[in-house]
Amino acid sequence: MTDRRFKKRTIFLIAYLIFALLPIYWMVNMSFKTNQEILSSFSLLPQAFTWDNYKTIFTDESWYSGYINSLIYVAINTTISLTVALPAAYAFSRYSFLGDKHVFFWLLTNRMTPPAVFLLPFFQLYTTVGLMDTHLAVALAHLLFNVPLAVWILEGFMSGIPREIDETAYIDGYSFPRFFITIFLPLIKAGVGVAAFFCFMFSWVELLLARTLTSVNAKPIVATMTRTVSASGMDWATLAAAGVLTIVPGAIVIWFVRHYIAKGFAMGRV
């Protein structure tokens, strides 16, 4: 009886995994074909295997600079998010103070507000302060939803650390910064990793703000991809190759945090 049950579950799981992988497989498949082949024949494997599409991306500056731009603003964003979120999360997890619940709720609403709502003023704001088309602009704009997220996740992890540890450290004569860096941070290493992962993820996948706040110099890969319709029709093959390349960093990051993903989801209540 258990065996049959087990089988049913496994079949369901495998079916889902196929469903999850098939669309990605198809894109990978296309990225190794030529445009001609894509449009003329239909096959599960490339008939004339080619690396040309990837070559195009790695040699054409308008393509590869997109990746560099994206990585730059994602990195800036993740760094700032964590730096400001760490002390705040500590405050939320350890103290009660005037308006704490309301501030927490307000932060949460920012995670939930569609970026489209703030699109207009962002455009005006960054134009006025002269940040338009810079990496910093996108990084700052993404703080809107990443900081609340980071605070939320970190607060969850920090609440899991008993308060006695803080008190012991203070009795031992540690100053707050020293305690925080040498004792507390190592304890919530996993939490910081998970928070960084989610900041990376949401900044990496976002398109609307990134596209609106950049034009040339800081144009992210996600925006580059939306403009592949050329005079000669869609450049499917290059588009597929670019898409595959955007999946790679995410896949690498998942691999590194795979042990913490589930925990991070539960603890941080993402």
Partner: protein, 297 residues
């Protein structure tokens, strides 16, 4: 946030300050600006006319907006209806430990890390009847499938894409909830002679309640602001079949550059989100509280 008794310390505000400034810069100033825009007719930066609540009236009576809102609600409802049960089922069938668990976890989580426009692109490619695997297969099965031509097909394709994209989030949350159940519970249930269904109903589901709440909240909110994927896949069409709220707003703001109406629309949108957020947040808080009272395990 937990509801235990924490020491009162107003100095904690200094720790909050950086976050406060960062988010205020990106949220409060823009919000004030939006309010300003919403009461003016901005012809050019130098020529602005105060129009009162005219834009709000216009937006509230906009038939297209009603359509978009209705479309949005249907879509969000469908998303929850499919993704929550599917995610739970998926979590239940995922292996608990070992390399299989790691591999499954990575494959399942993969779609979450794909940039949203690439998600759109993937499905654009996958669904096309001429060059896409799904489109072509359906075509050969004799189904006249076209997500660019048929409104229903387009809507369903966007839904399928969202399921593909986001069910993993629900699954991972549910999975995390399941892993937190001590073995003793399963042992006790076996001793008590509980059926598989009873185990699900009385152990797994109650223990997953907290994470499922978050799943519902996140999926509802995120589906409510869905923009990029349908933008890439269908561009909101055919007609307005897949035009959701964000789409409509962006069309107005960026496409037509109607600052006033777009701002009024933004505010209404924001108010809707605020209400949902508030209700769900309080619901979660209360849930957290009852769980605390139940405490200890």
């Amino acid at each position: 946030m937990s509801v235990t008794t924490k020491p009162v310390n107003q100095k904690a505000w200094f720790l909050i300050l950086p976050v406060f400034i960062c988010v205020a810069f990106s949220a409060i100033l823009p919000l004030m600006t939006v309010v300003n825009y919403s009461v003016q007719d901005i012809i050019s930066p130098e020529r602005r006319v105060f129009v009162g609540t005219e834009w709000f009236a216009a937006v509230m009576r906009d038939e297209d907006l009603h359509a978009a809102l209705w479309n949005q609600l249907k879509f969000s409802g469908a998303v929850l209806l499919v993704e929550i049960p599917l995610g739970i089922a998926l979590a239940l069938s995922m292996p608990a430990a070992g390399w299989k668990a790691s591999a499954t976890l990575v494959i399942v989580a993969l779609s979450l890390l794909i940039p949203w426009n690439v998600v759109g692109t993937i499905w654009q490619i996958f669904g096309r009847a001429d060059i896409g695997l799904m489109g072509a297969t359906l075509q050969r099965l004799g189904i006249e499938y076209s997500y660019t031509g048929d409104a229903l097909h387009a809507w369903l394709t966007v839904l399928l894409m969202d399921i593909w994209h986001w069910t993993p989030l629900v699954a991972l949350l549910a999975y995390a909830g399941l892993r937190s159940i001590p073995d003793a519970y399963y042992h006790a249930a076996r001793i008590d002679g509980a059926s598989k269904f009873a185990v699900f109903r009385y152990i797994q589901l109650p223990k997953m309640r907290g994470v499922l709440m978050i799943a519902v909240l996140l999926r509802f909110m995120d589906s409510f602001m869905i923009y990029t994927e349908p933008f890439v896949l269908t561009g909101g069409g055919p007609g307005n079949a897949t035009t959701f709220l964000s789409q409509y707003l962006t069309q107005k703001a960026v496409g037509q550059f109607d600052l006033g109406p777009a701002a009024a629309f933004s505010l209404i949108y924001f108010l809707i989100i605020l209400l949902f957020c508030f209700v769900l947040y309080n619901w979660m808080q209360r849930l957290g509280q009852t769980e605390k009272e139940g405490g200890h395990d």
